[in-house]
């Protein structure tokens, strides 16, 4: 037995620096042409016995994060710790953040050797060594219409995880199956039916019973009610709450329904485009959300008390693609509180420069030679003026134009320009290297990643 098996530690599931990048294949040769950064550096923990809700728009990586935590897919980098003492988790998290800042590069899923995490890090285990952990973490998926094998009888669906994981004879397993069915509110004669003979709510009960079958400690509930009729949703949620109370289970509840969160969760983590942007106890998050994204999400929830009703914040634009997430704060393209240093991309400025610095189109640029090319080089935007070498005076003109444009509405990208320099017969606009806002604990248990809140001194 591993040491982590004997003792119940405070943190049941913890993620450090977790990333999952899916390759996008293209072309005739099916080569990897890009990466979908579905989960892109997540630190998250679930305490034993609590319910942590994970909320965020569809496509932000919630399901992928859940699959990573259960080791249903291997991470690109980062680690998942299971049943780990709180202090060890905290130090692992610190260490990971430091190393991530230092090299910023992709690291192997295995952390440094001899860091004392080996007994907890399930991502370091080989398949065979991971097997005993399998039964301790079980999923319930969103769609009960595809999550049950249509060619199996309910009794066989429920018996399978028991026969695989728990040393039980078939009759013993069947006794447990009957008991499980009762626990989720179904009748014994339902055992000899096929999944298609049930309604959505009943199917979800069967899926829950299957997840409970191998006696897990942790349940991943991936939008367990969003495929169900509204009238059935509450029943299923109450069943889950009941089971948790009776068996002391730990839940990670993925949802985009915030009323479900209020009903079920002790703590909430808000996810945006592959990262966690805010985390707080449920009450606190609903009462004083900090991150502009959280505020926007909450503003969409109907509030019964008209005096406390918030103004609805509409998120402009679409969710950016996780293939190429915005630099800096990922939310800056849609944030209503955005500041110049939140995030920028030379690309945002590139299209405007074609007009701004073209002497034939902008009279203020008439002293500049004809603009022939704008090229992007990392954090720099290079302006080429035909064959002629720009002079210091012309650099000054460009710098003034940048300043003037930055003052105008929508000049955010220009505000971020740090310097305008002459270089190799061209003028270069320099942007600072983009930094994501740091993860700061604003009050106990309430953390946020946003430049609106004091950043730690570098």
């Amino acid at each position: 037995m591993l040491p982590s098996d004997r003792q119940a530690h405070e943190i049941l599931v913890g993620a450090v620096g977790l990333k999952k990048h899916f390759p996008v294949k293209g072309g005739v040769l099916r080569r990897t042409i890009a990466q979908v950064r579905a989960v892109d550096g997540v630190d998250l923990f679930v305490r034993r016995g609590e319910t942590l809700a994970l909320v965020g728009e569809s496509g932000c990586g919630k399901t992928t994060l859940g699959r990573l935590l259960l080791r249903l897919i291997p991470p690109t980098s980062g680690e998942v710790l299971f049943n780990v003492p709180a202090n060890l988790y905290a130090s692992a998290r610190d260490r990971w953040q430091r190393t991530a800042e230092e090299d910023g590069a992709m690291r192997s899923p295995k952390g440094p050797q001899g860091d004392g995490l080996d007994p907890y890090a399930i991502t370091r285990l080989r398949t065979r060594a991971f097997k005993p952990f399998r039964r301790r973490m079980q999923p319930v998926f969103q769609d009960p219409f595809t999550s049950l094998d249509p060619r199996m009888l309910v009794k066989d669906i429920l018996a399978e995880p028991i026969l695989i994981n728990n040393q039980m004879t078939r009759p013993e397993a069947m006794e447990r199956v009957a008991q499980l069915l009762q626990e989720v509110g179904l009748r014994p004669d339902h055992l000899y039916r096929f999944p298609h003979e049930f309604s959505g709510g009943q199917r979800q009960r069967i899926a829950i019973a299957r997840a409970l079958a191998p006696e897990p400690e942790f349940l991943l509930l991936d939008e367990p009610t969003s495929a169900l009729d509204v009238s059935v949703q509450a029943q299923i949620l109450n069943l889950l709450k009941d089971i948790q109370r009776r068996q002391g289970l730990t839940y990670l509840l993925i949802t985009h329904n915030l009323s479900v969160v209020r009903h079920m969760a002790d703590r909430v983590a808000v996810m945006y485009l592959g990262r966690i942007v805010e985390e707080a106890p449920t009450r606190e998050l609903f009462e004083s959300p900090l991150h502009p994204y959280t505020k926007a999400l909450l503003s969409a929830v109907p509030v019964p008390d008209p005096k406390r009703r918030r103004e609805k914040i509409l998120l402009p634009g679409d969710v950016p693609s996780p293939v190429d997430p915005p630099t800096g704060c990922r939310f800056h393209t849609r944030c209503n509180a955005v500041m110049p240093h939140c995030g920028w991309s030379p690309r945002d400025a590139a299209s405007a420069t074609a007009y701004l610095f073209d002497s034939s189109r902008n009279p203020h640029a008439s002293t500049l030679p004809a603009l022939s090319e704008v090229s992007m080089e990392g954090n720099r935007l290079r302006l080429l003026f035909g064959g002629s070498r720009p002079s210091e005076a012309q650099r000054q003109v460009v710098a003034d134009l940048v300043r003037g444009r930055a003052a105008e509405a929508g000049g955010m990208a220009f505000q971020a320009i740090r310097e305008v320099v002459l270089e190799e017969g061209s003028i270069v606009l320099e942007f600072p290297p983009p930094l994501e806002p740091a993860w700061v604990e604003v009050s106990p248990g309430h953390s946020v990643a946003c430049y609106l809140y004091p950043q730690p001194q570098a």
Binding site: R67, L70, L72, K131, R134, R135, M137, Q138, P139, F141, Q142, D143, T146, S147, L148, D149, P150, R151, M152, L153, K155, D156, E160, P161, I164, N165, T169, R170, P171, E172, M174, Y192, R193, F194, H196, A207, R210, A213, P214
Partner: protein, 315 residues
């Protein structure tokens, strides 16, 4: 104390058997529902009836001694008509064919041979193709790529050309013909099953099984394969007709030298052709009809199966 435990054991294993038995009965109910759905369609029911009739004939024919077929009247070397045909021979239902073979018996024997060998080709191809398609679709990656490219190669060879080539290299006999068909018959099944596997694999019950600790083998054979079988059944029944036609065609054009007597439908038609068909039309009419009716039967059955096995039409 010990006795008490014994008693408990006994009760448990009895209830264990009851559980398995009840599960089995429930599954049989499901199959009989499929059968009832099939029988509700007149064409499909006719197809099933014809197919079962042929299977029955094939089984019965294997109990006939060979000499019954050859029990002929060599005094008249010309084919004799059946008794109900003009000035027919009393006692002979289907007449005789050159060289004095009883046609009814010969057709029974031929059905047995044709059905037996075409089943070997089709079922053999289906099983091999199913395994290849299952592994390729489930594992994916380079393995999939390799397997599917090799089915492409096998796919691109016209089987008549291949069969004839094999025959000239190895030998021109019935066994070789079977062998070459068997080699070429699995790729369509591999493709069919692979595409099914890709669709089934995307279902969350596969991920749930993985989360429950099921091994790859278990997932492939318990969860994925049973969900891919319906179109395979359809294809098998359609292919039975196709393979019998290929046999008949190849033997008719003389792929297998007619040294000696081969009770096979194509061969029987060939014998009839060799004996002035205009004077003795029954010699090609009866074996031809036997072939056509079987082909139509399995096609009707296949179409019916396609309909009733489609889960979207079930409920």
């Amino acid at each position: 104390m010990g006795a008490h435990v014994e008693v408990r054991r006994g009760i448990r294993s009895a209830s264990g058997r009851a559980e398995l038995w009840r599960g089995l009965r429930r599954r049989l109910d499901e199959y009989s529902l499929t059968l009832r759905l099939l029988l509700k369609r007149p064409l499909a029911a006719a197809g099933l009836l014809i197919t079962l009739l042929y299977v029955g004939i094939a089984i019965a024919a294997s109990f006939l001694p060979d000499r019954d077929v050859l029990q002929t009247n060599f005094t008249t070397a010309y084919p004799q008509p059946p008794w109900w045909w003009g000035n027919g021979t009393p006692g002979s239902w289907f007449g005789t064919t050159y060289p004095g073979i009883d046609l009814g018996m010969a057709i029974f024997k031929a059905i047995r041979i044709d059905l037996y060998y075409s089943s070997i080709v089709v079922l053999g191809g289906a099983i091999v193709g199913m395994l290849v398609g299952l592994v390729a679709g489930y594992k994916g990656g380079l393995f999939d790529e390799g397997l599917m490219r090799s089915t492409d190669v096998a796919y691109s060879i016209p089987f008549l050309v291949f069969a004839i080539a094999v025959a000239y290299v190895i030998s021109r006999d019935f066994t070789t013909l079977n062998l070459s068909l068997l080699i070429l018959w699995w790729p369509p099944y591999a493709r069919l099953v692979r595409s099914q596997v890709l669709a089934v694999k995307a279902n969350m019950f596969v991920e749930a099984a993985r989360a429950a600790g099921a091994s790859d083998l278990r997932i492939m054979f318990r969860h994925i394969l049973p969900n891919t079988l319906a179109p395979v059944f359809v294809q098998v029944s359609l292919d039975l007709g196709v393979v019998i036609q290929i046999f008949a065609a190849l033997i008719f054009i003389g792929f297998v030298p007619h040294s000696g007597y081969l009770p096979e439908l194509g061969a029987l038609i060939f014998y009839g052709f060799g004996s002035e068909p205009t004077s003795y039309p029954w010699t090609i009419l009866f074996p031809g009809l036997a072939l056509v009716i079987f082909t139509v039967g399995v096609n009707l059955l296949g179409d019916g199966l396609r309909d009733v096995l489609d889960p979207r039409l079930r409920r």
